[in-house]
């Protein structure tokens, strides 16, 4: 028998449906261009990368590759398959870790202290703010040329050698060496020019974000701290730093990712550094190699590796992506908003009973 429906109910249903449809239409209209670009140029290549890392992909001839049962991943994680690749990968891994452990705190504390100084609004602070940000807009090539000129050897008339008589073969000699779980790690002098180049121009963005954050810290908190008898140091720790916590978290996130993916500086300056004999012809077999250098050496710079070892490059970048993901996950977890407990109010109740 014919389905009967209450008119009012039907009208409500219909308008609800049209409303939903319209809303989805609008969302599609707004979101689609971005989403398409995001999928086509990020998600898709990512899956294609994963697909490549599972096959012995020939750069020249796509489509001919066959599944090689995780050969590349075995090579990265199992020393016995190809010791040279294993050593060079994990060596560049340790280089990246040590360097970012040194650089990340500096790249946060230096801009933070400069931001605090500029926030004191000394005379001509606008000029200082401009000058401090300027090194970080210098493109990689220009900065590379400057620092190569600075650190060239005496015979090549490097500026440091010529003017200050520092006659160290920066890109050849070793600075010192130490062993880490039994494996001898040599720290080359070449790391010093890279360190100075990162120190010089790496943290401009952080400086801008932090100085913007500082200006949002409410003034009356400083006055309250004054009244409560705070020393300047304690004021910074209890008012300034918590005040700019969201900006600090953002800067920490981007800086960690930035230095884990260090490539430009050591490519331009020392192109992987003095080569280590044992892994010289392996991808990134140098003393200033980093993970990204290992990947780029396969994917872009070295033609023979590029044509036949592309899968290894894709696998290495996936391992790196996983590692970077884990690190930023930990960082997010550590800096999340802490939930409040009830410990103190319990103690209070007991104290109250006793009284």
């Amino acid at each position: 028998m014919k389905k009967t429906v209450v008119l009012e109910e039907y009208a409500k249903q219909r308008s609800k449906r049209i409303g939903a449809l319209k809303k989805y239409g609008i969302t599609a209209l707004f979101l689609l261009p971005y989403l398409i670009a995001f999928i086509v140029f990020f998600v898709l290549p990512l899956f294609y990368g994963i697909y490549i890392s599972l096959t012995n992909f020939q750069y020249g001839k796509p489509g001919v590759e066959t599944f090689n049962s995780f050969l590349w991943f075995k090579m990265i994680f199992d020393k016995s398959v190809m010791p040279g690749v294993f050593n060079s990968f994990w060596l560049s891994f340790t280089h990246t870790l040590i360097f970012s452990v040194i650089m990340v705190p500096i790249a946060i504390i230096l801009p933070l202290s400069l931001a605090i100084l500029v926030n004191q609004k000394p005379p001509a602070f606008k000029l200082f703010r401009a000058l401090i940000y300027m090194p970080s807009i210098v493109p990689l090539t220009a900065a590379g040329t400057i620092f190569t000129l600075l650190f060239m050897s005496k015979s090549q008339h490097g500026v440091l050698a010529e003017f200050f008589g520092i006659d160290i073969q920066w890109f050849i000699d070793n600075w010192f060496s130490f062993d880490l779980f039994g494996q001898e790690i040599e720290i080359a002098y070449a790391w010093i020019p890279i360190f100075f180049m990162c120190l010089w121009g790496g943290w401009g963005g952080n400086f801008i974000i932090l100085s913007a954050g500082l200006q949002n810290v409410p003034k009356h908190l400083y006055e309250a701290a004054d009244i409560d008898g705070c020393s300047p140091m304690r004021k910074i720790m209890n008012v300034t730093v918590p005040g700019i916590k969201p900006q600090l978290v953002l800067c920490l996130f981007t800086t960690i990712l930035g230095y884990l993916g260090l490539y430009g500086q050591n490519y331009v300056l020392s192109s992987g550094g003095p080569s280590i004999a044992a892994i010289a012809s392996m991808p990134a077999g140098g003393k200033t190699s980093t993970i990204m250098y290992f990947i780029q050496d396969i994917v872009a710079n070295n033609l023979t590796f590029k044509s036949s070892l592309y899968g290894l490059g894709a696998a290495a970048s996936l391992v790196y992506a996983l590692f970077a993901g884990v690190i930023s996950g930990i960082q997010m977890y550590l800096t999340r908003e802490k939930k409040t407990g009830t410990k103190i109010s319990e103690a209070y109740n007991k104290w109250h009973e006793i009284r």
Binding site: I39, Y59, P62, S281, T304
Partner: protein, 542 residues
């Protein structure tokens, strides 16, 4: 939290489906022609019009366009372009060659990326270095040419090419490229400084060292004189003051235009890495790969001698990377450096053996300087004779390494007409003769190359050209040049050898220097790592 999880799964799965579907389209439509992977020529369509008995009809080629990539950069790029213009004029209407010159800095990079991603722009003919011929042929880029030549009936006959040069283009008996020329790195010498300071051999008449000992004594002599400041030096740059002066300080001349001083004078510039290493290897009978395909350059005694000599005999103060060699050589800061012959022929020769040096009285040139042939043209060029260590096998002792250029036909060619046109061009360049009878190849060789073909070398037109150019005289008989052994992993092997020598010479500069056995140990380690790279590549390609 539950909603989030459920929502999360739904959205991620949606994203996955969309991207996979798009992915299939993405890599699907890569226009990968089928004939990419093997060398076979079956994919060429035989569209050549033949008359009844298999001969070609008269104008069987018209309007064929060839897209040629050439690796040759300045300064000899000009000469090649002129030759091609001439060819186009001669074959106007039949064959037209459009040449794009891609510098050696990224020739092979763009070859790879165009082949992989942008096949439409892949060249038809490549003029490239002969050592990379087989490597790229086996990547599936080039045709094997033997049967093509017979079908097209072009006058290229491989047996009158020098087989020591031709061997790099052969793989399993098939030719993958037509050799054009050969050129090793020549050593430039300031014979006037050697003569003035009395360090020449056979009582100061021969200035080119023939073996290690003579080379060593010459360098040490120059160094000793320079250290004590008695070294006579002069500047042979155009319209500079050419008068001799000693490096002793306190010499008035010295302070004025004090360019060369005791501490920036170096007897020789560092070996030009690649070709000198290979010369040392081949001259002493070594080879990059041994019979069963393993890395063996570190096993050759001569090679190890060459490397250890760097450490104990030619130590760091005999060699300097004296900045820019083109600028240091004329001023007298360095006496010997090695550079490609194409630079010598086209640039330095005319500059430094200029007539200013032979006209007495002007710019400080004395009567005696002007008259003496050695002082008049101070700039001499020679082969690196001294590379042979004392245990070197006799047949290779007097030879030297040289790479060269080669013409290859790429898989882009699918019509026999184009193949024929390409081969005709190759024949024209290597064997062709212009109207007054001498080979076109000779014009090319004038810019500092030695022909790879016997008939061209033996032709008297070449003899006459050789007499005029000191470079060709220095390069001598192509028979002496050993080209690279043909191998699929040429780049990795060469870079292995270069890194080995590079590492040792870098250690020389470093603070704690380098000892003989340390150098040996580095050689072996790098050889082992190159071997491992080889296995890796084999693994990848399987």
């Amino acid at each position: 939290m539950k909603l989030l999880k459920k929502g999360f799964i739904k959205v991620t799965s949606l994203l996955m489906i969309v991207s996979l579907m798009l992915g299939l389209i993405g890599c699907g439509n890569d226009n990968n022609d089928d004939n990419k992977n093997n060398g076979g020529t079956d994919s060429i369509v035989d569209d050549l019009p033949r008359d009844e008995n298999g001969e070609f009809v008269a104008d069987y080629l018209e309007g064929v366009q060839l897209n040629v990539w050439s690796v040759i950069g300045n300064p000899d790029q000009k000469i090649l372009l002129e030759l091609i213009k001439e060819f186009n004029k001669e074959y106007a209407g039949m064959i037209e060659i459009k040449v794009t010159s891609v510098g050696h800095y990224d020739y092979y990079n763009s070859l790879d990326s165009t082949y992989a991603n942008d096949y439409g722009n892949f060249p038809d003919v490549c003029i490239m270095h002969n050592e990379k011929n087989i490597e790229y042929a086996l990547k599936g880029y080039f045709y094997s040419l033997d049967d093509l030549i017979t079908t097209v009936g072009v006058g290229i006959d491989f047996d009158n090419a020098y087989d020591n040069i031709e061997k790099t283009t052969i793989h399993e008996g098939k030719h993958y490229g037509i050799p054009v020329d050969a050129h090793g790195y020549l050593t430039q010498i300031r014979q006037d400084i050697i003569k003035k300071n009395g360090l020449g051999f056979e009582n100061n008449t021969r200035f080119i060292p023939n073996d290690y000992d003579e080379y060593q004594t010459l360098l040490e002599g120059l160094r000793a004189l320079a250290d004590t400041g008695e070294l006579w030096v002069r500047n042979i740059n155009l319209d500079e003051d050419h008068s001799w002066y000693q490096l002793k300080n306190g010499n008035s001349k010295l302070d004025a235009a004090a360019v060369v001083t005791t501490d920036n004078f170096y007897p020789a510039f560092f070996h030009s890495q690649e070709s000198d290493n290979l010369t040392a290897l081949y001259v002493n009978g070594g080879s990059l790969l041994d019979a069963n395909g393993d890395v063996s350059f570190h096993k050759n005694a001569g090679m190890t001698q060459y490397v250890t000599d760097l450490v104990d005999r030619y130590n760091a103060d005999l060699y300097g990377d004296a900045g820019n060699k083109e600028a240091a050589f004329p001023t007298g800061q360095i006496v010997m450096f090695s550079e490609g012959p194409w630079m010598v022929a086209n640039t330095y020769d005319i500059w430094w053996n200029n007539n200013q040096l032979s006209t007495a009285g002007k710019l400080g040139v004395t009567e005696e300087d002007a008259s003496d042939p050695v002082y008049a043209n101070p700039y001499a060029v020679a082969r690196p004779y001294y590379m042979a260590a004392d245990g070197a096998p006799t047949e290779t002792a007097s030879k030297w390494y040289g790479n060269g250029h080669v013409i290859t036909l790429t898989k882009k060619i699918t019509s026999m007409q184009k193949a024929a046109a390409a081969l005709i061009f190759a024949e024209w360049l290597t064997q062709g003769q212009n109207e007054d009878g001498n080979y076109n190849l000779i014009d090319w060789c004038k810019s500092g190359h030695v022909p790879a073909w016997k008939n061209v070398y033996e032709s008297d037109a070449y003899k006459e050209a050789e007499s005029k150019s000191i470079t060709l005289q220095a390069m001598g008989d192509p028979e002496q040049i050993i080209a690279l052994e043909s191998s699929q992993y040429a780049t990795t092997l060469i870079s292995g050898l270069t890194t080995a020598v590079g590492n040792v010479s870098a250690q020389l500069l470093s603070v704690d220097g380098c000892t003989v056995d340390k150098a040996k140990q580095t050689m072996n380690e790098i050889a082992a790592s190159t071997q491992e790279a080889l296995n890796l590549l084999k693994l990848g390609i399987k």
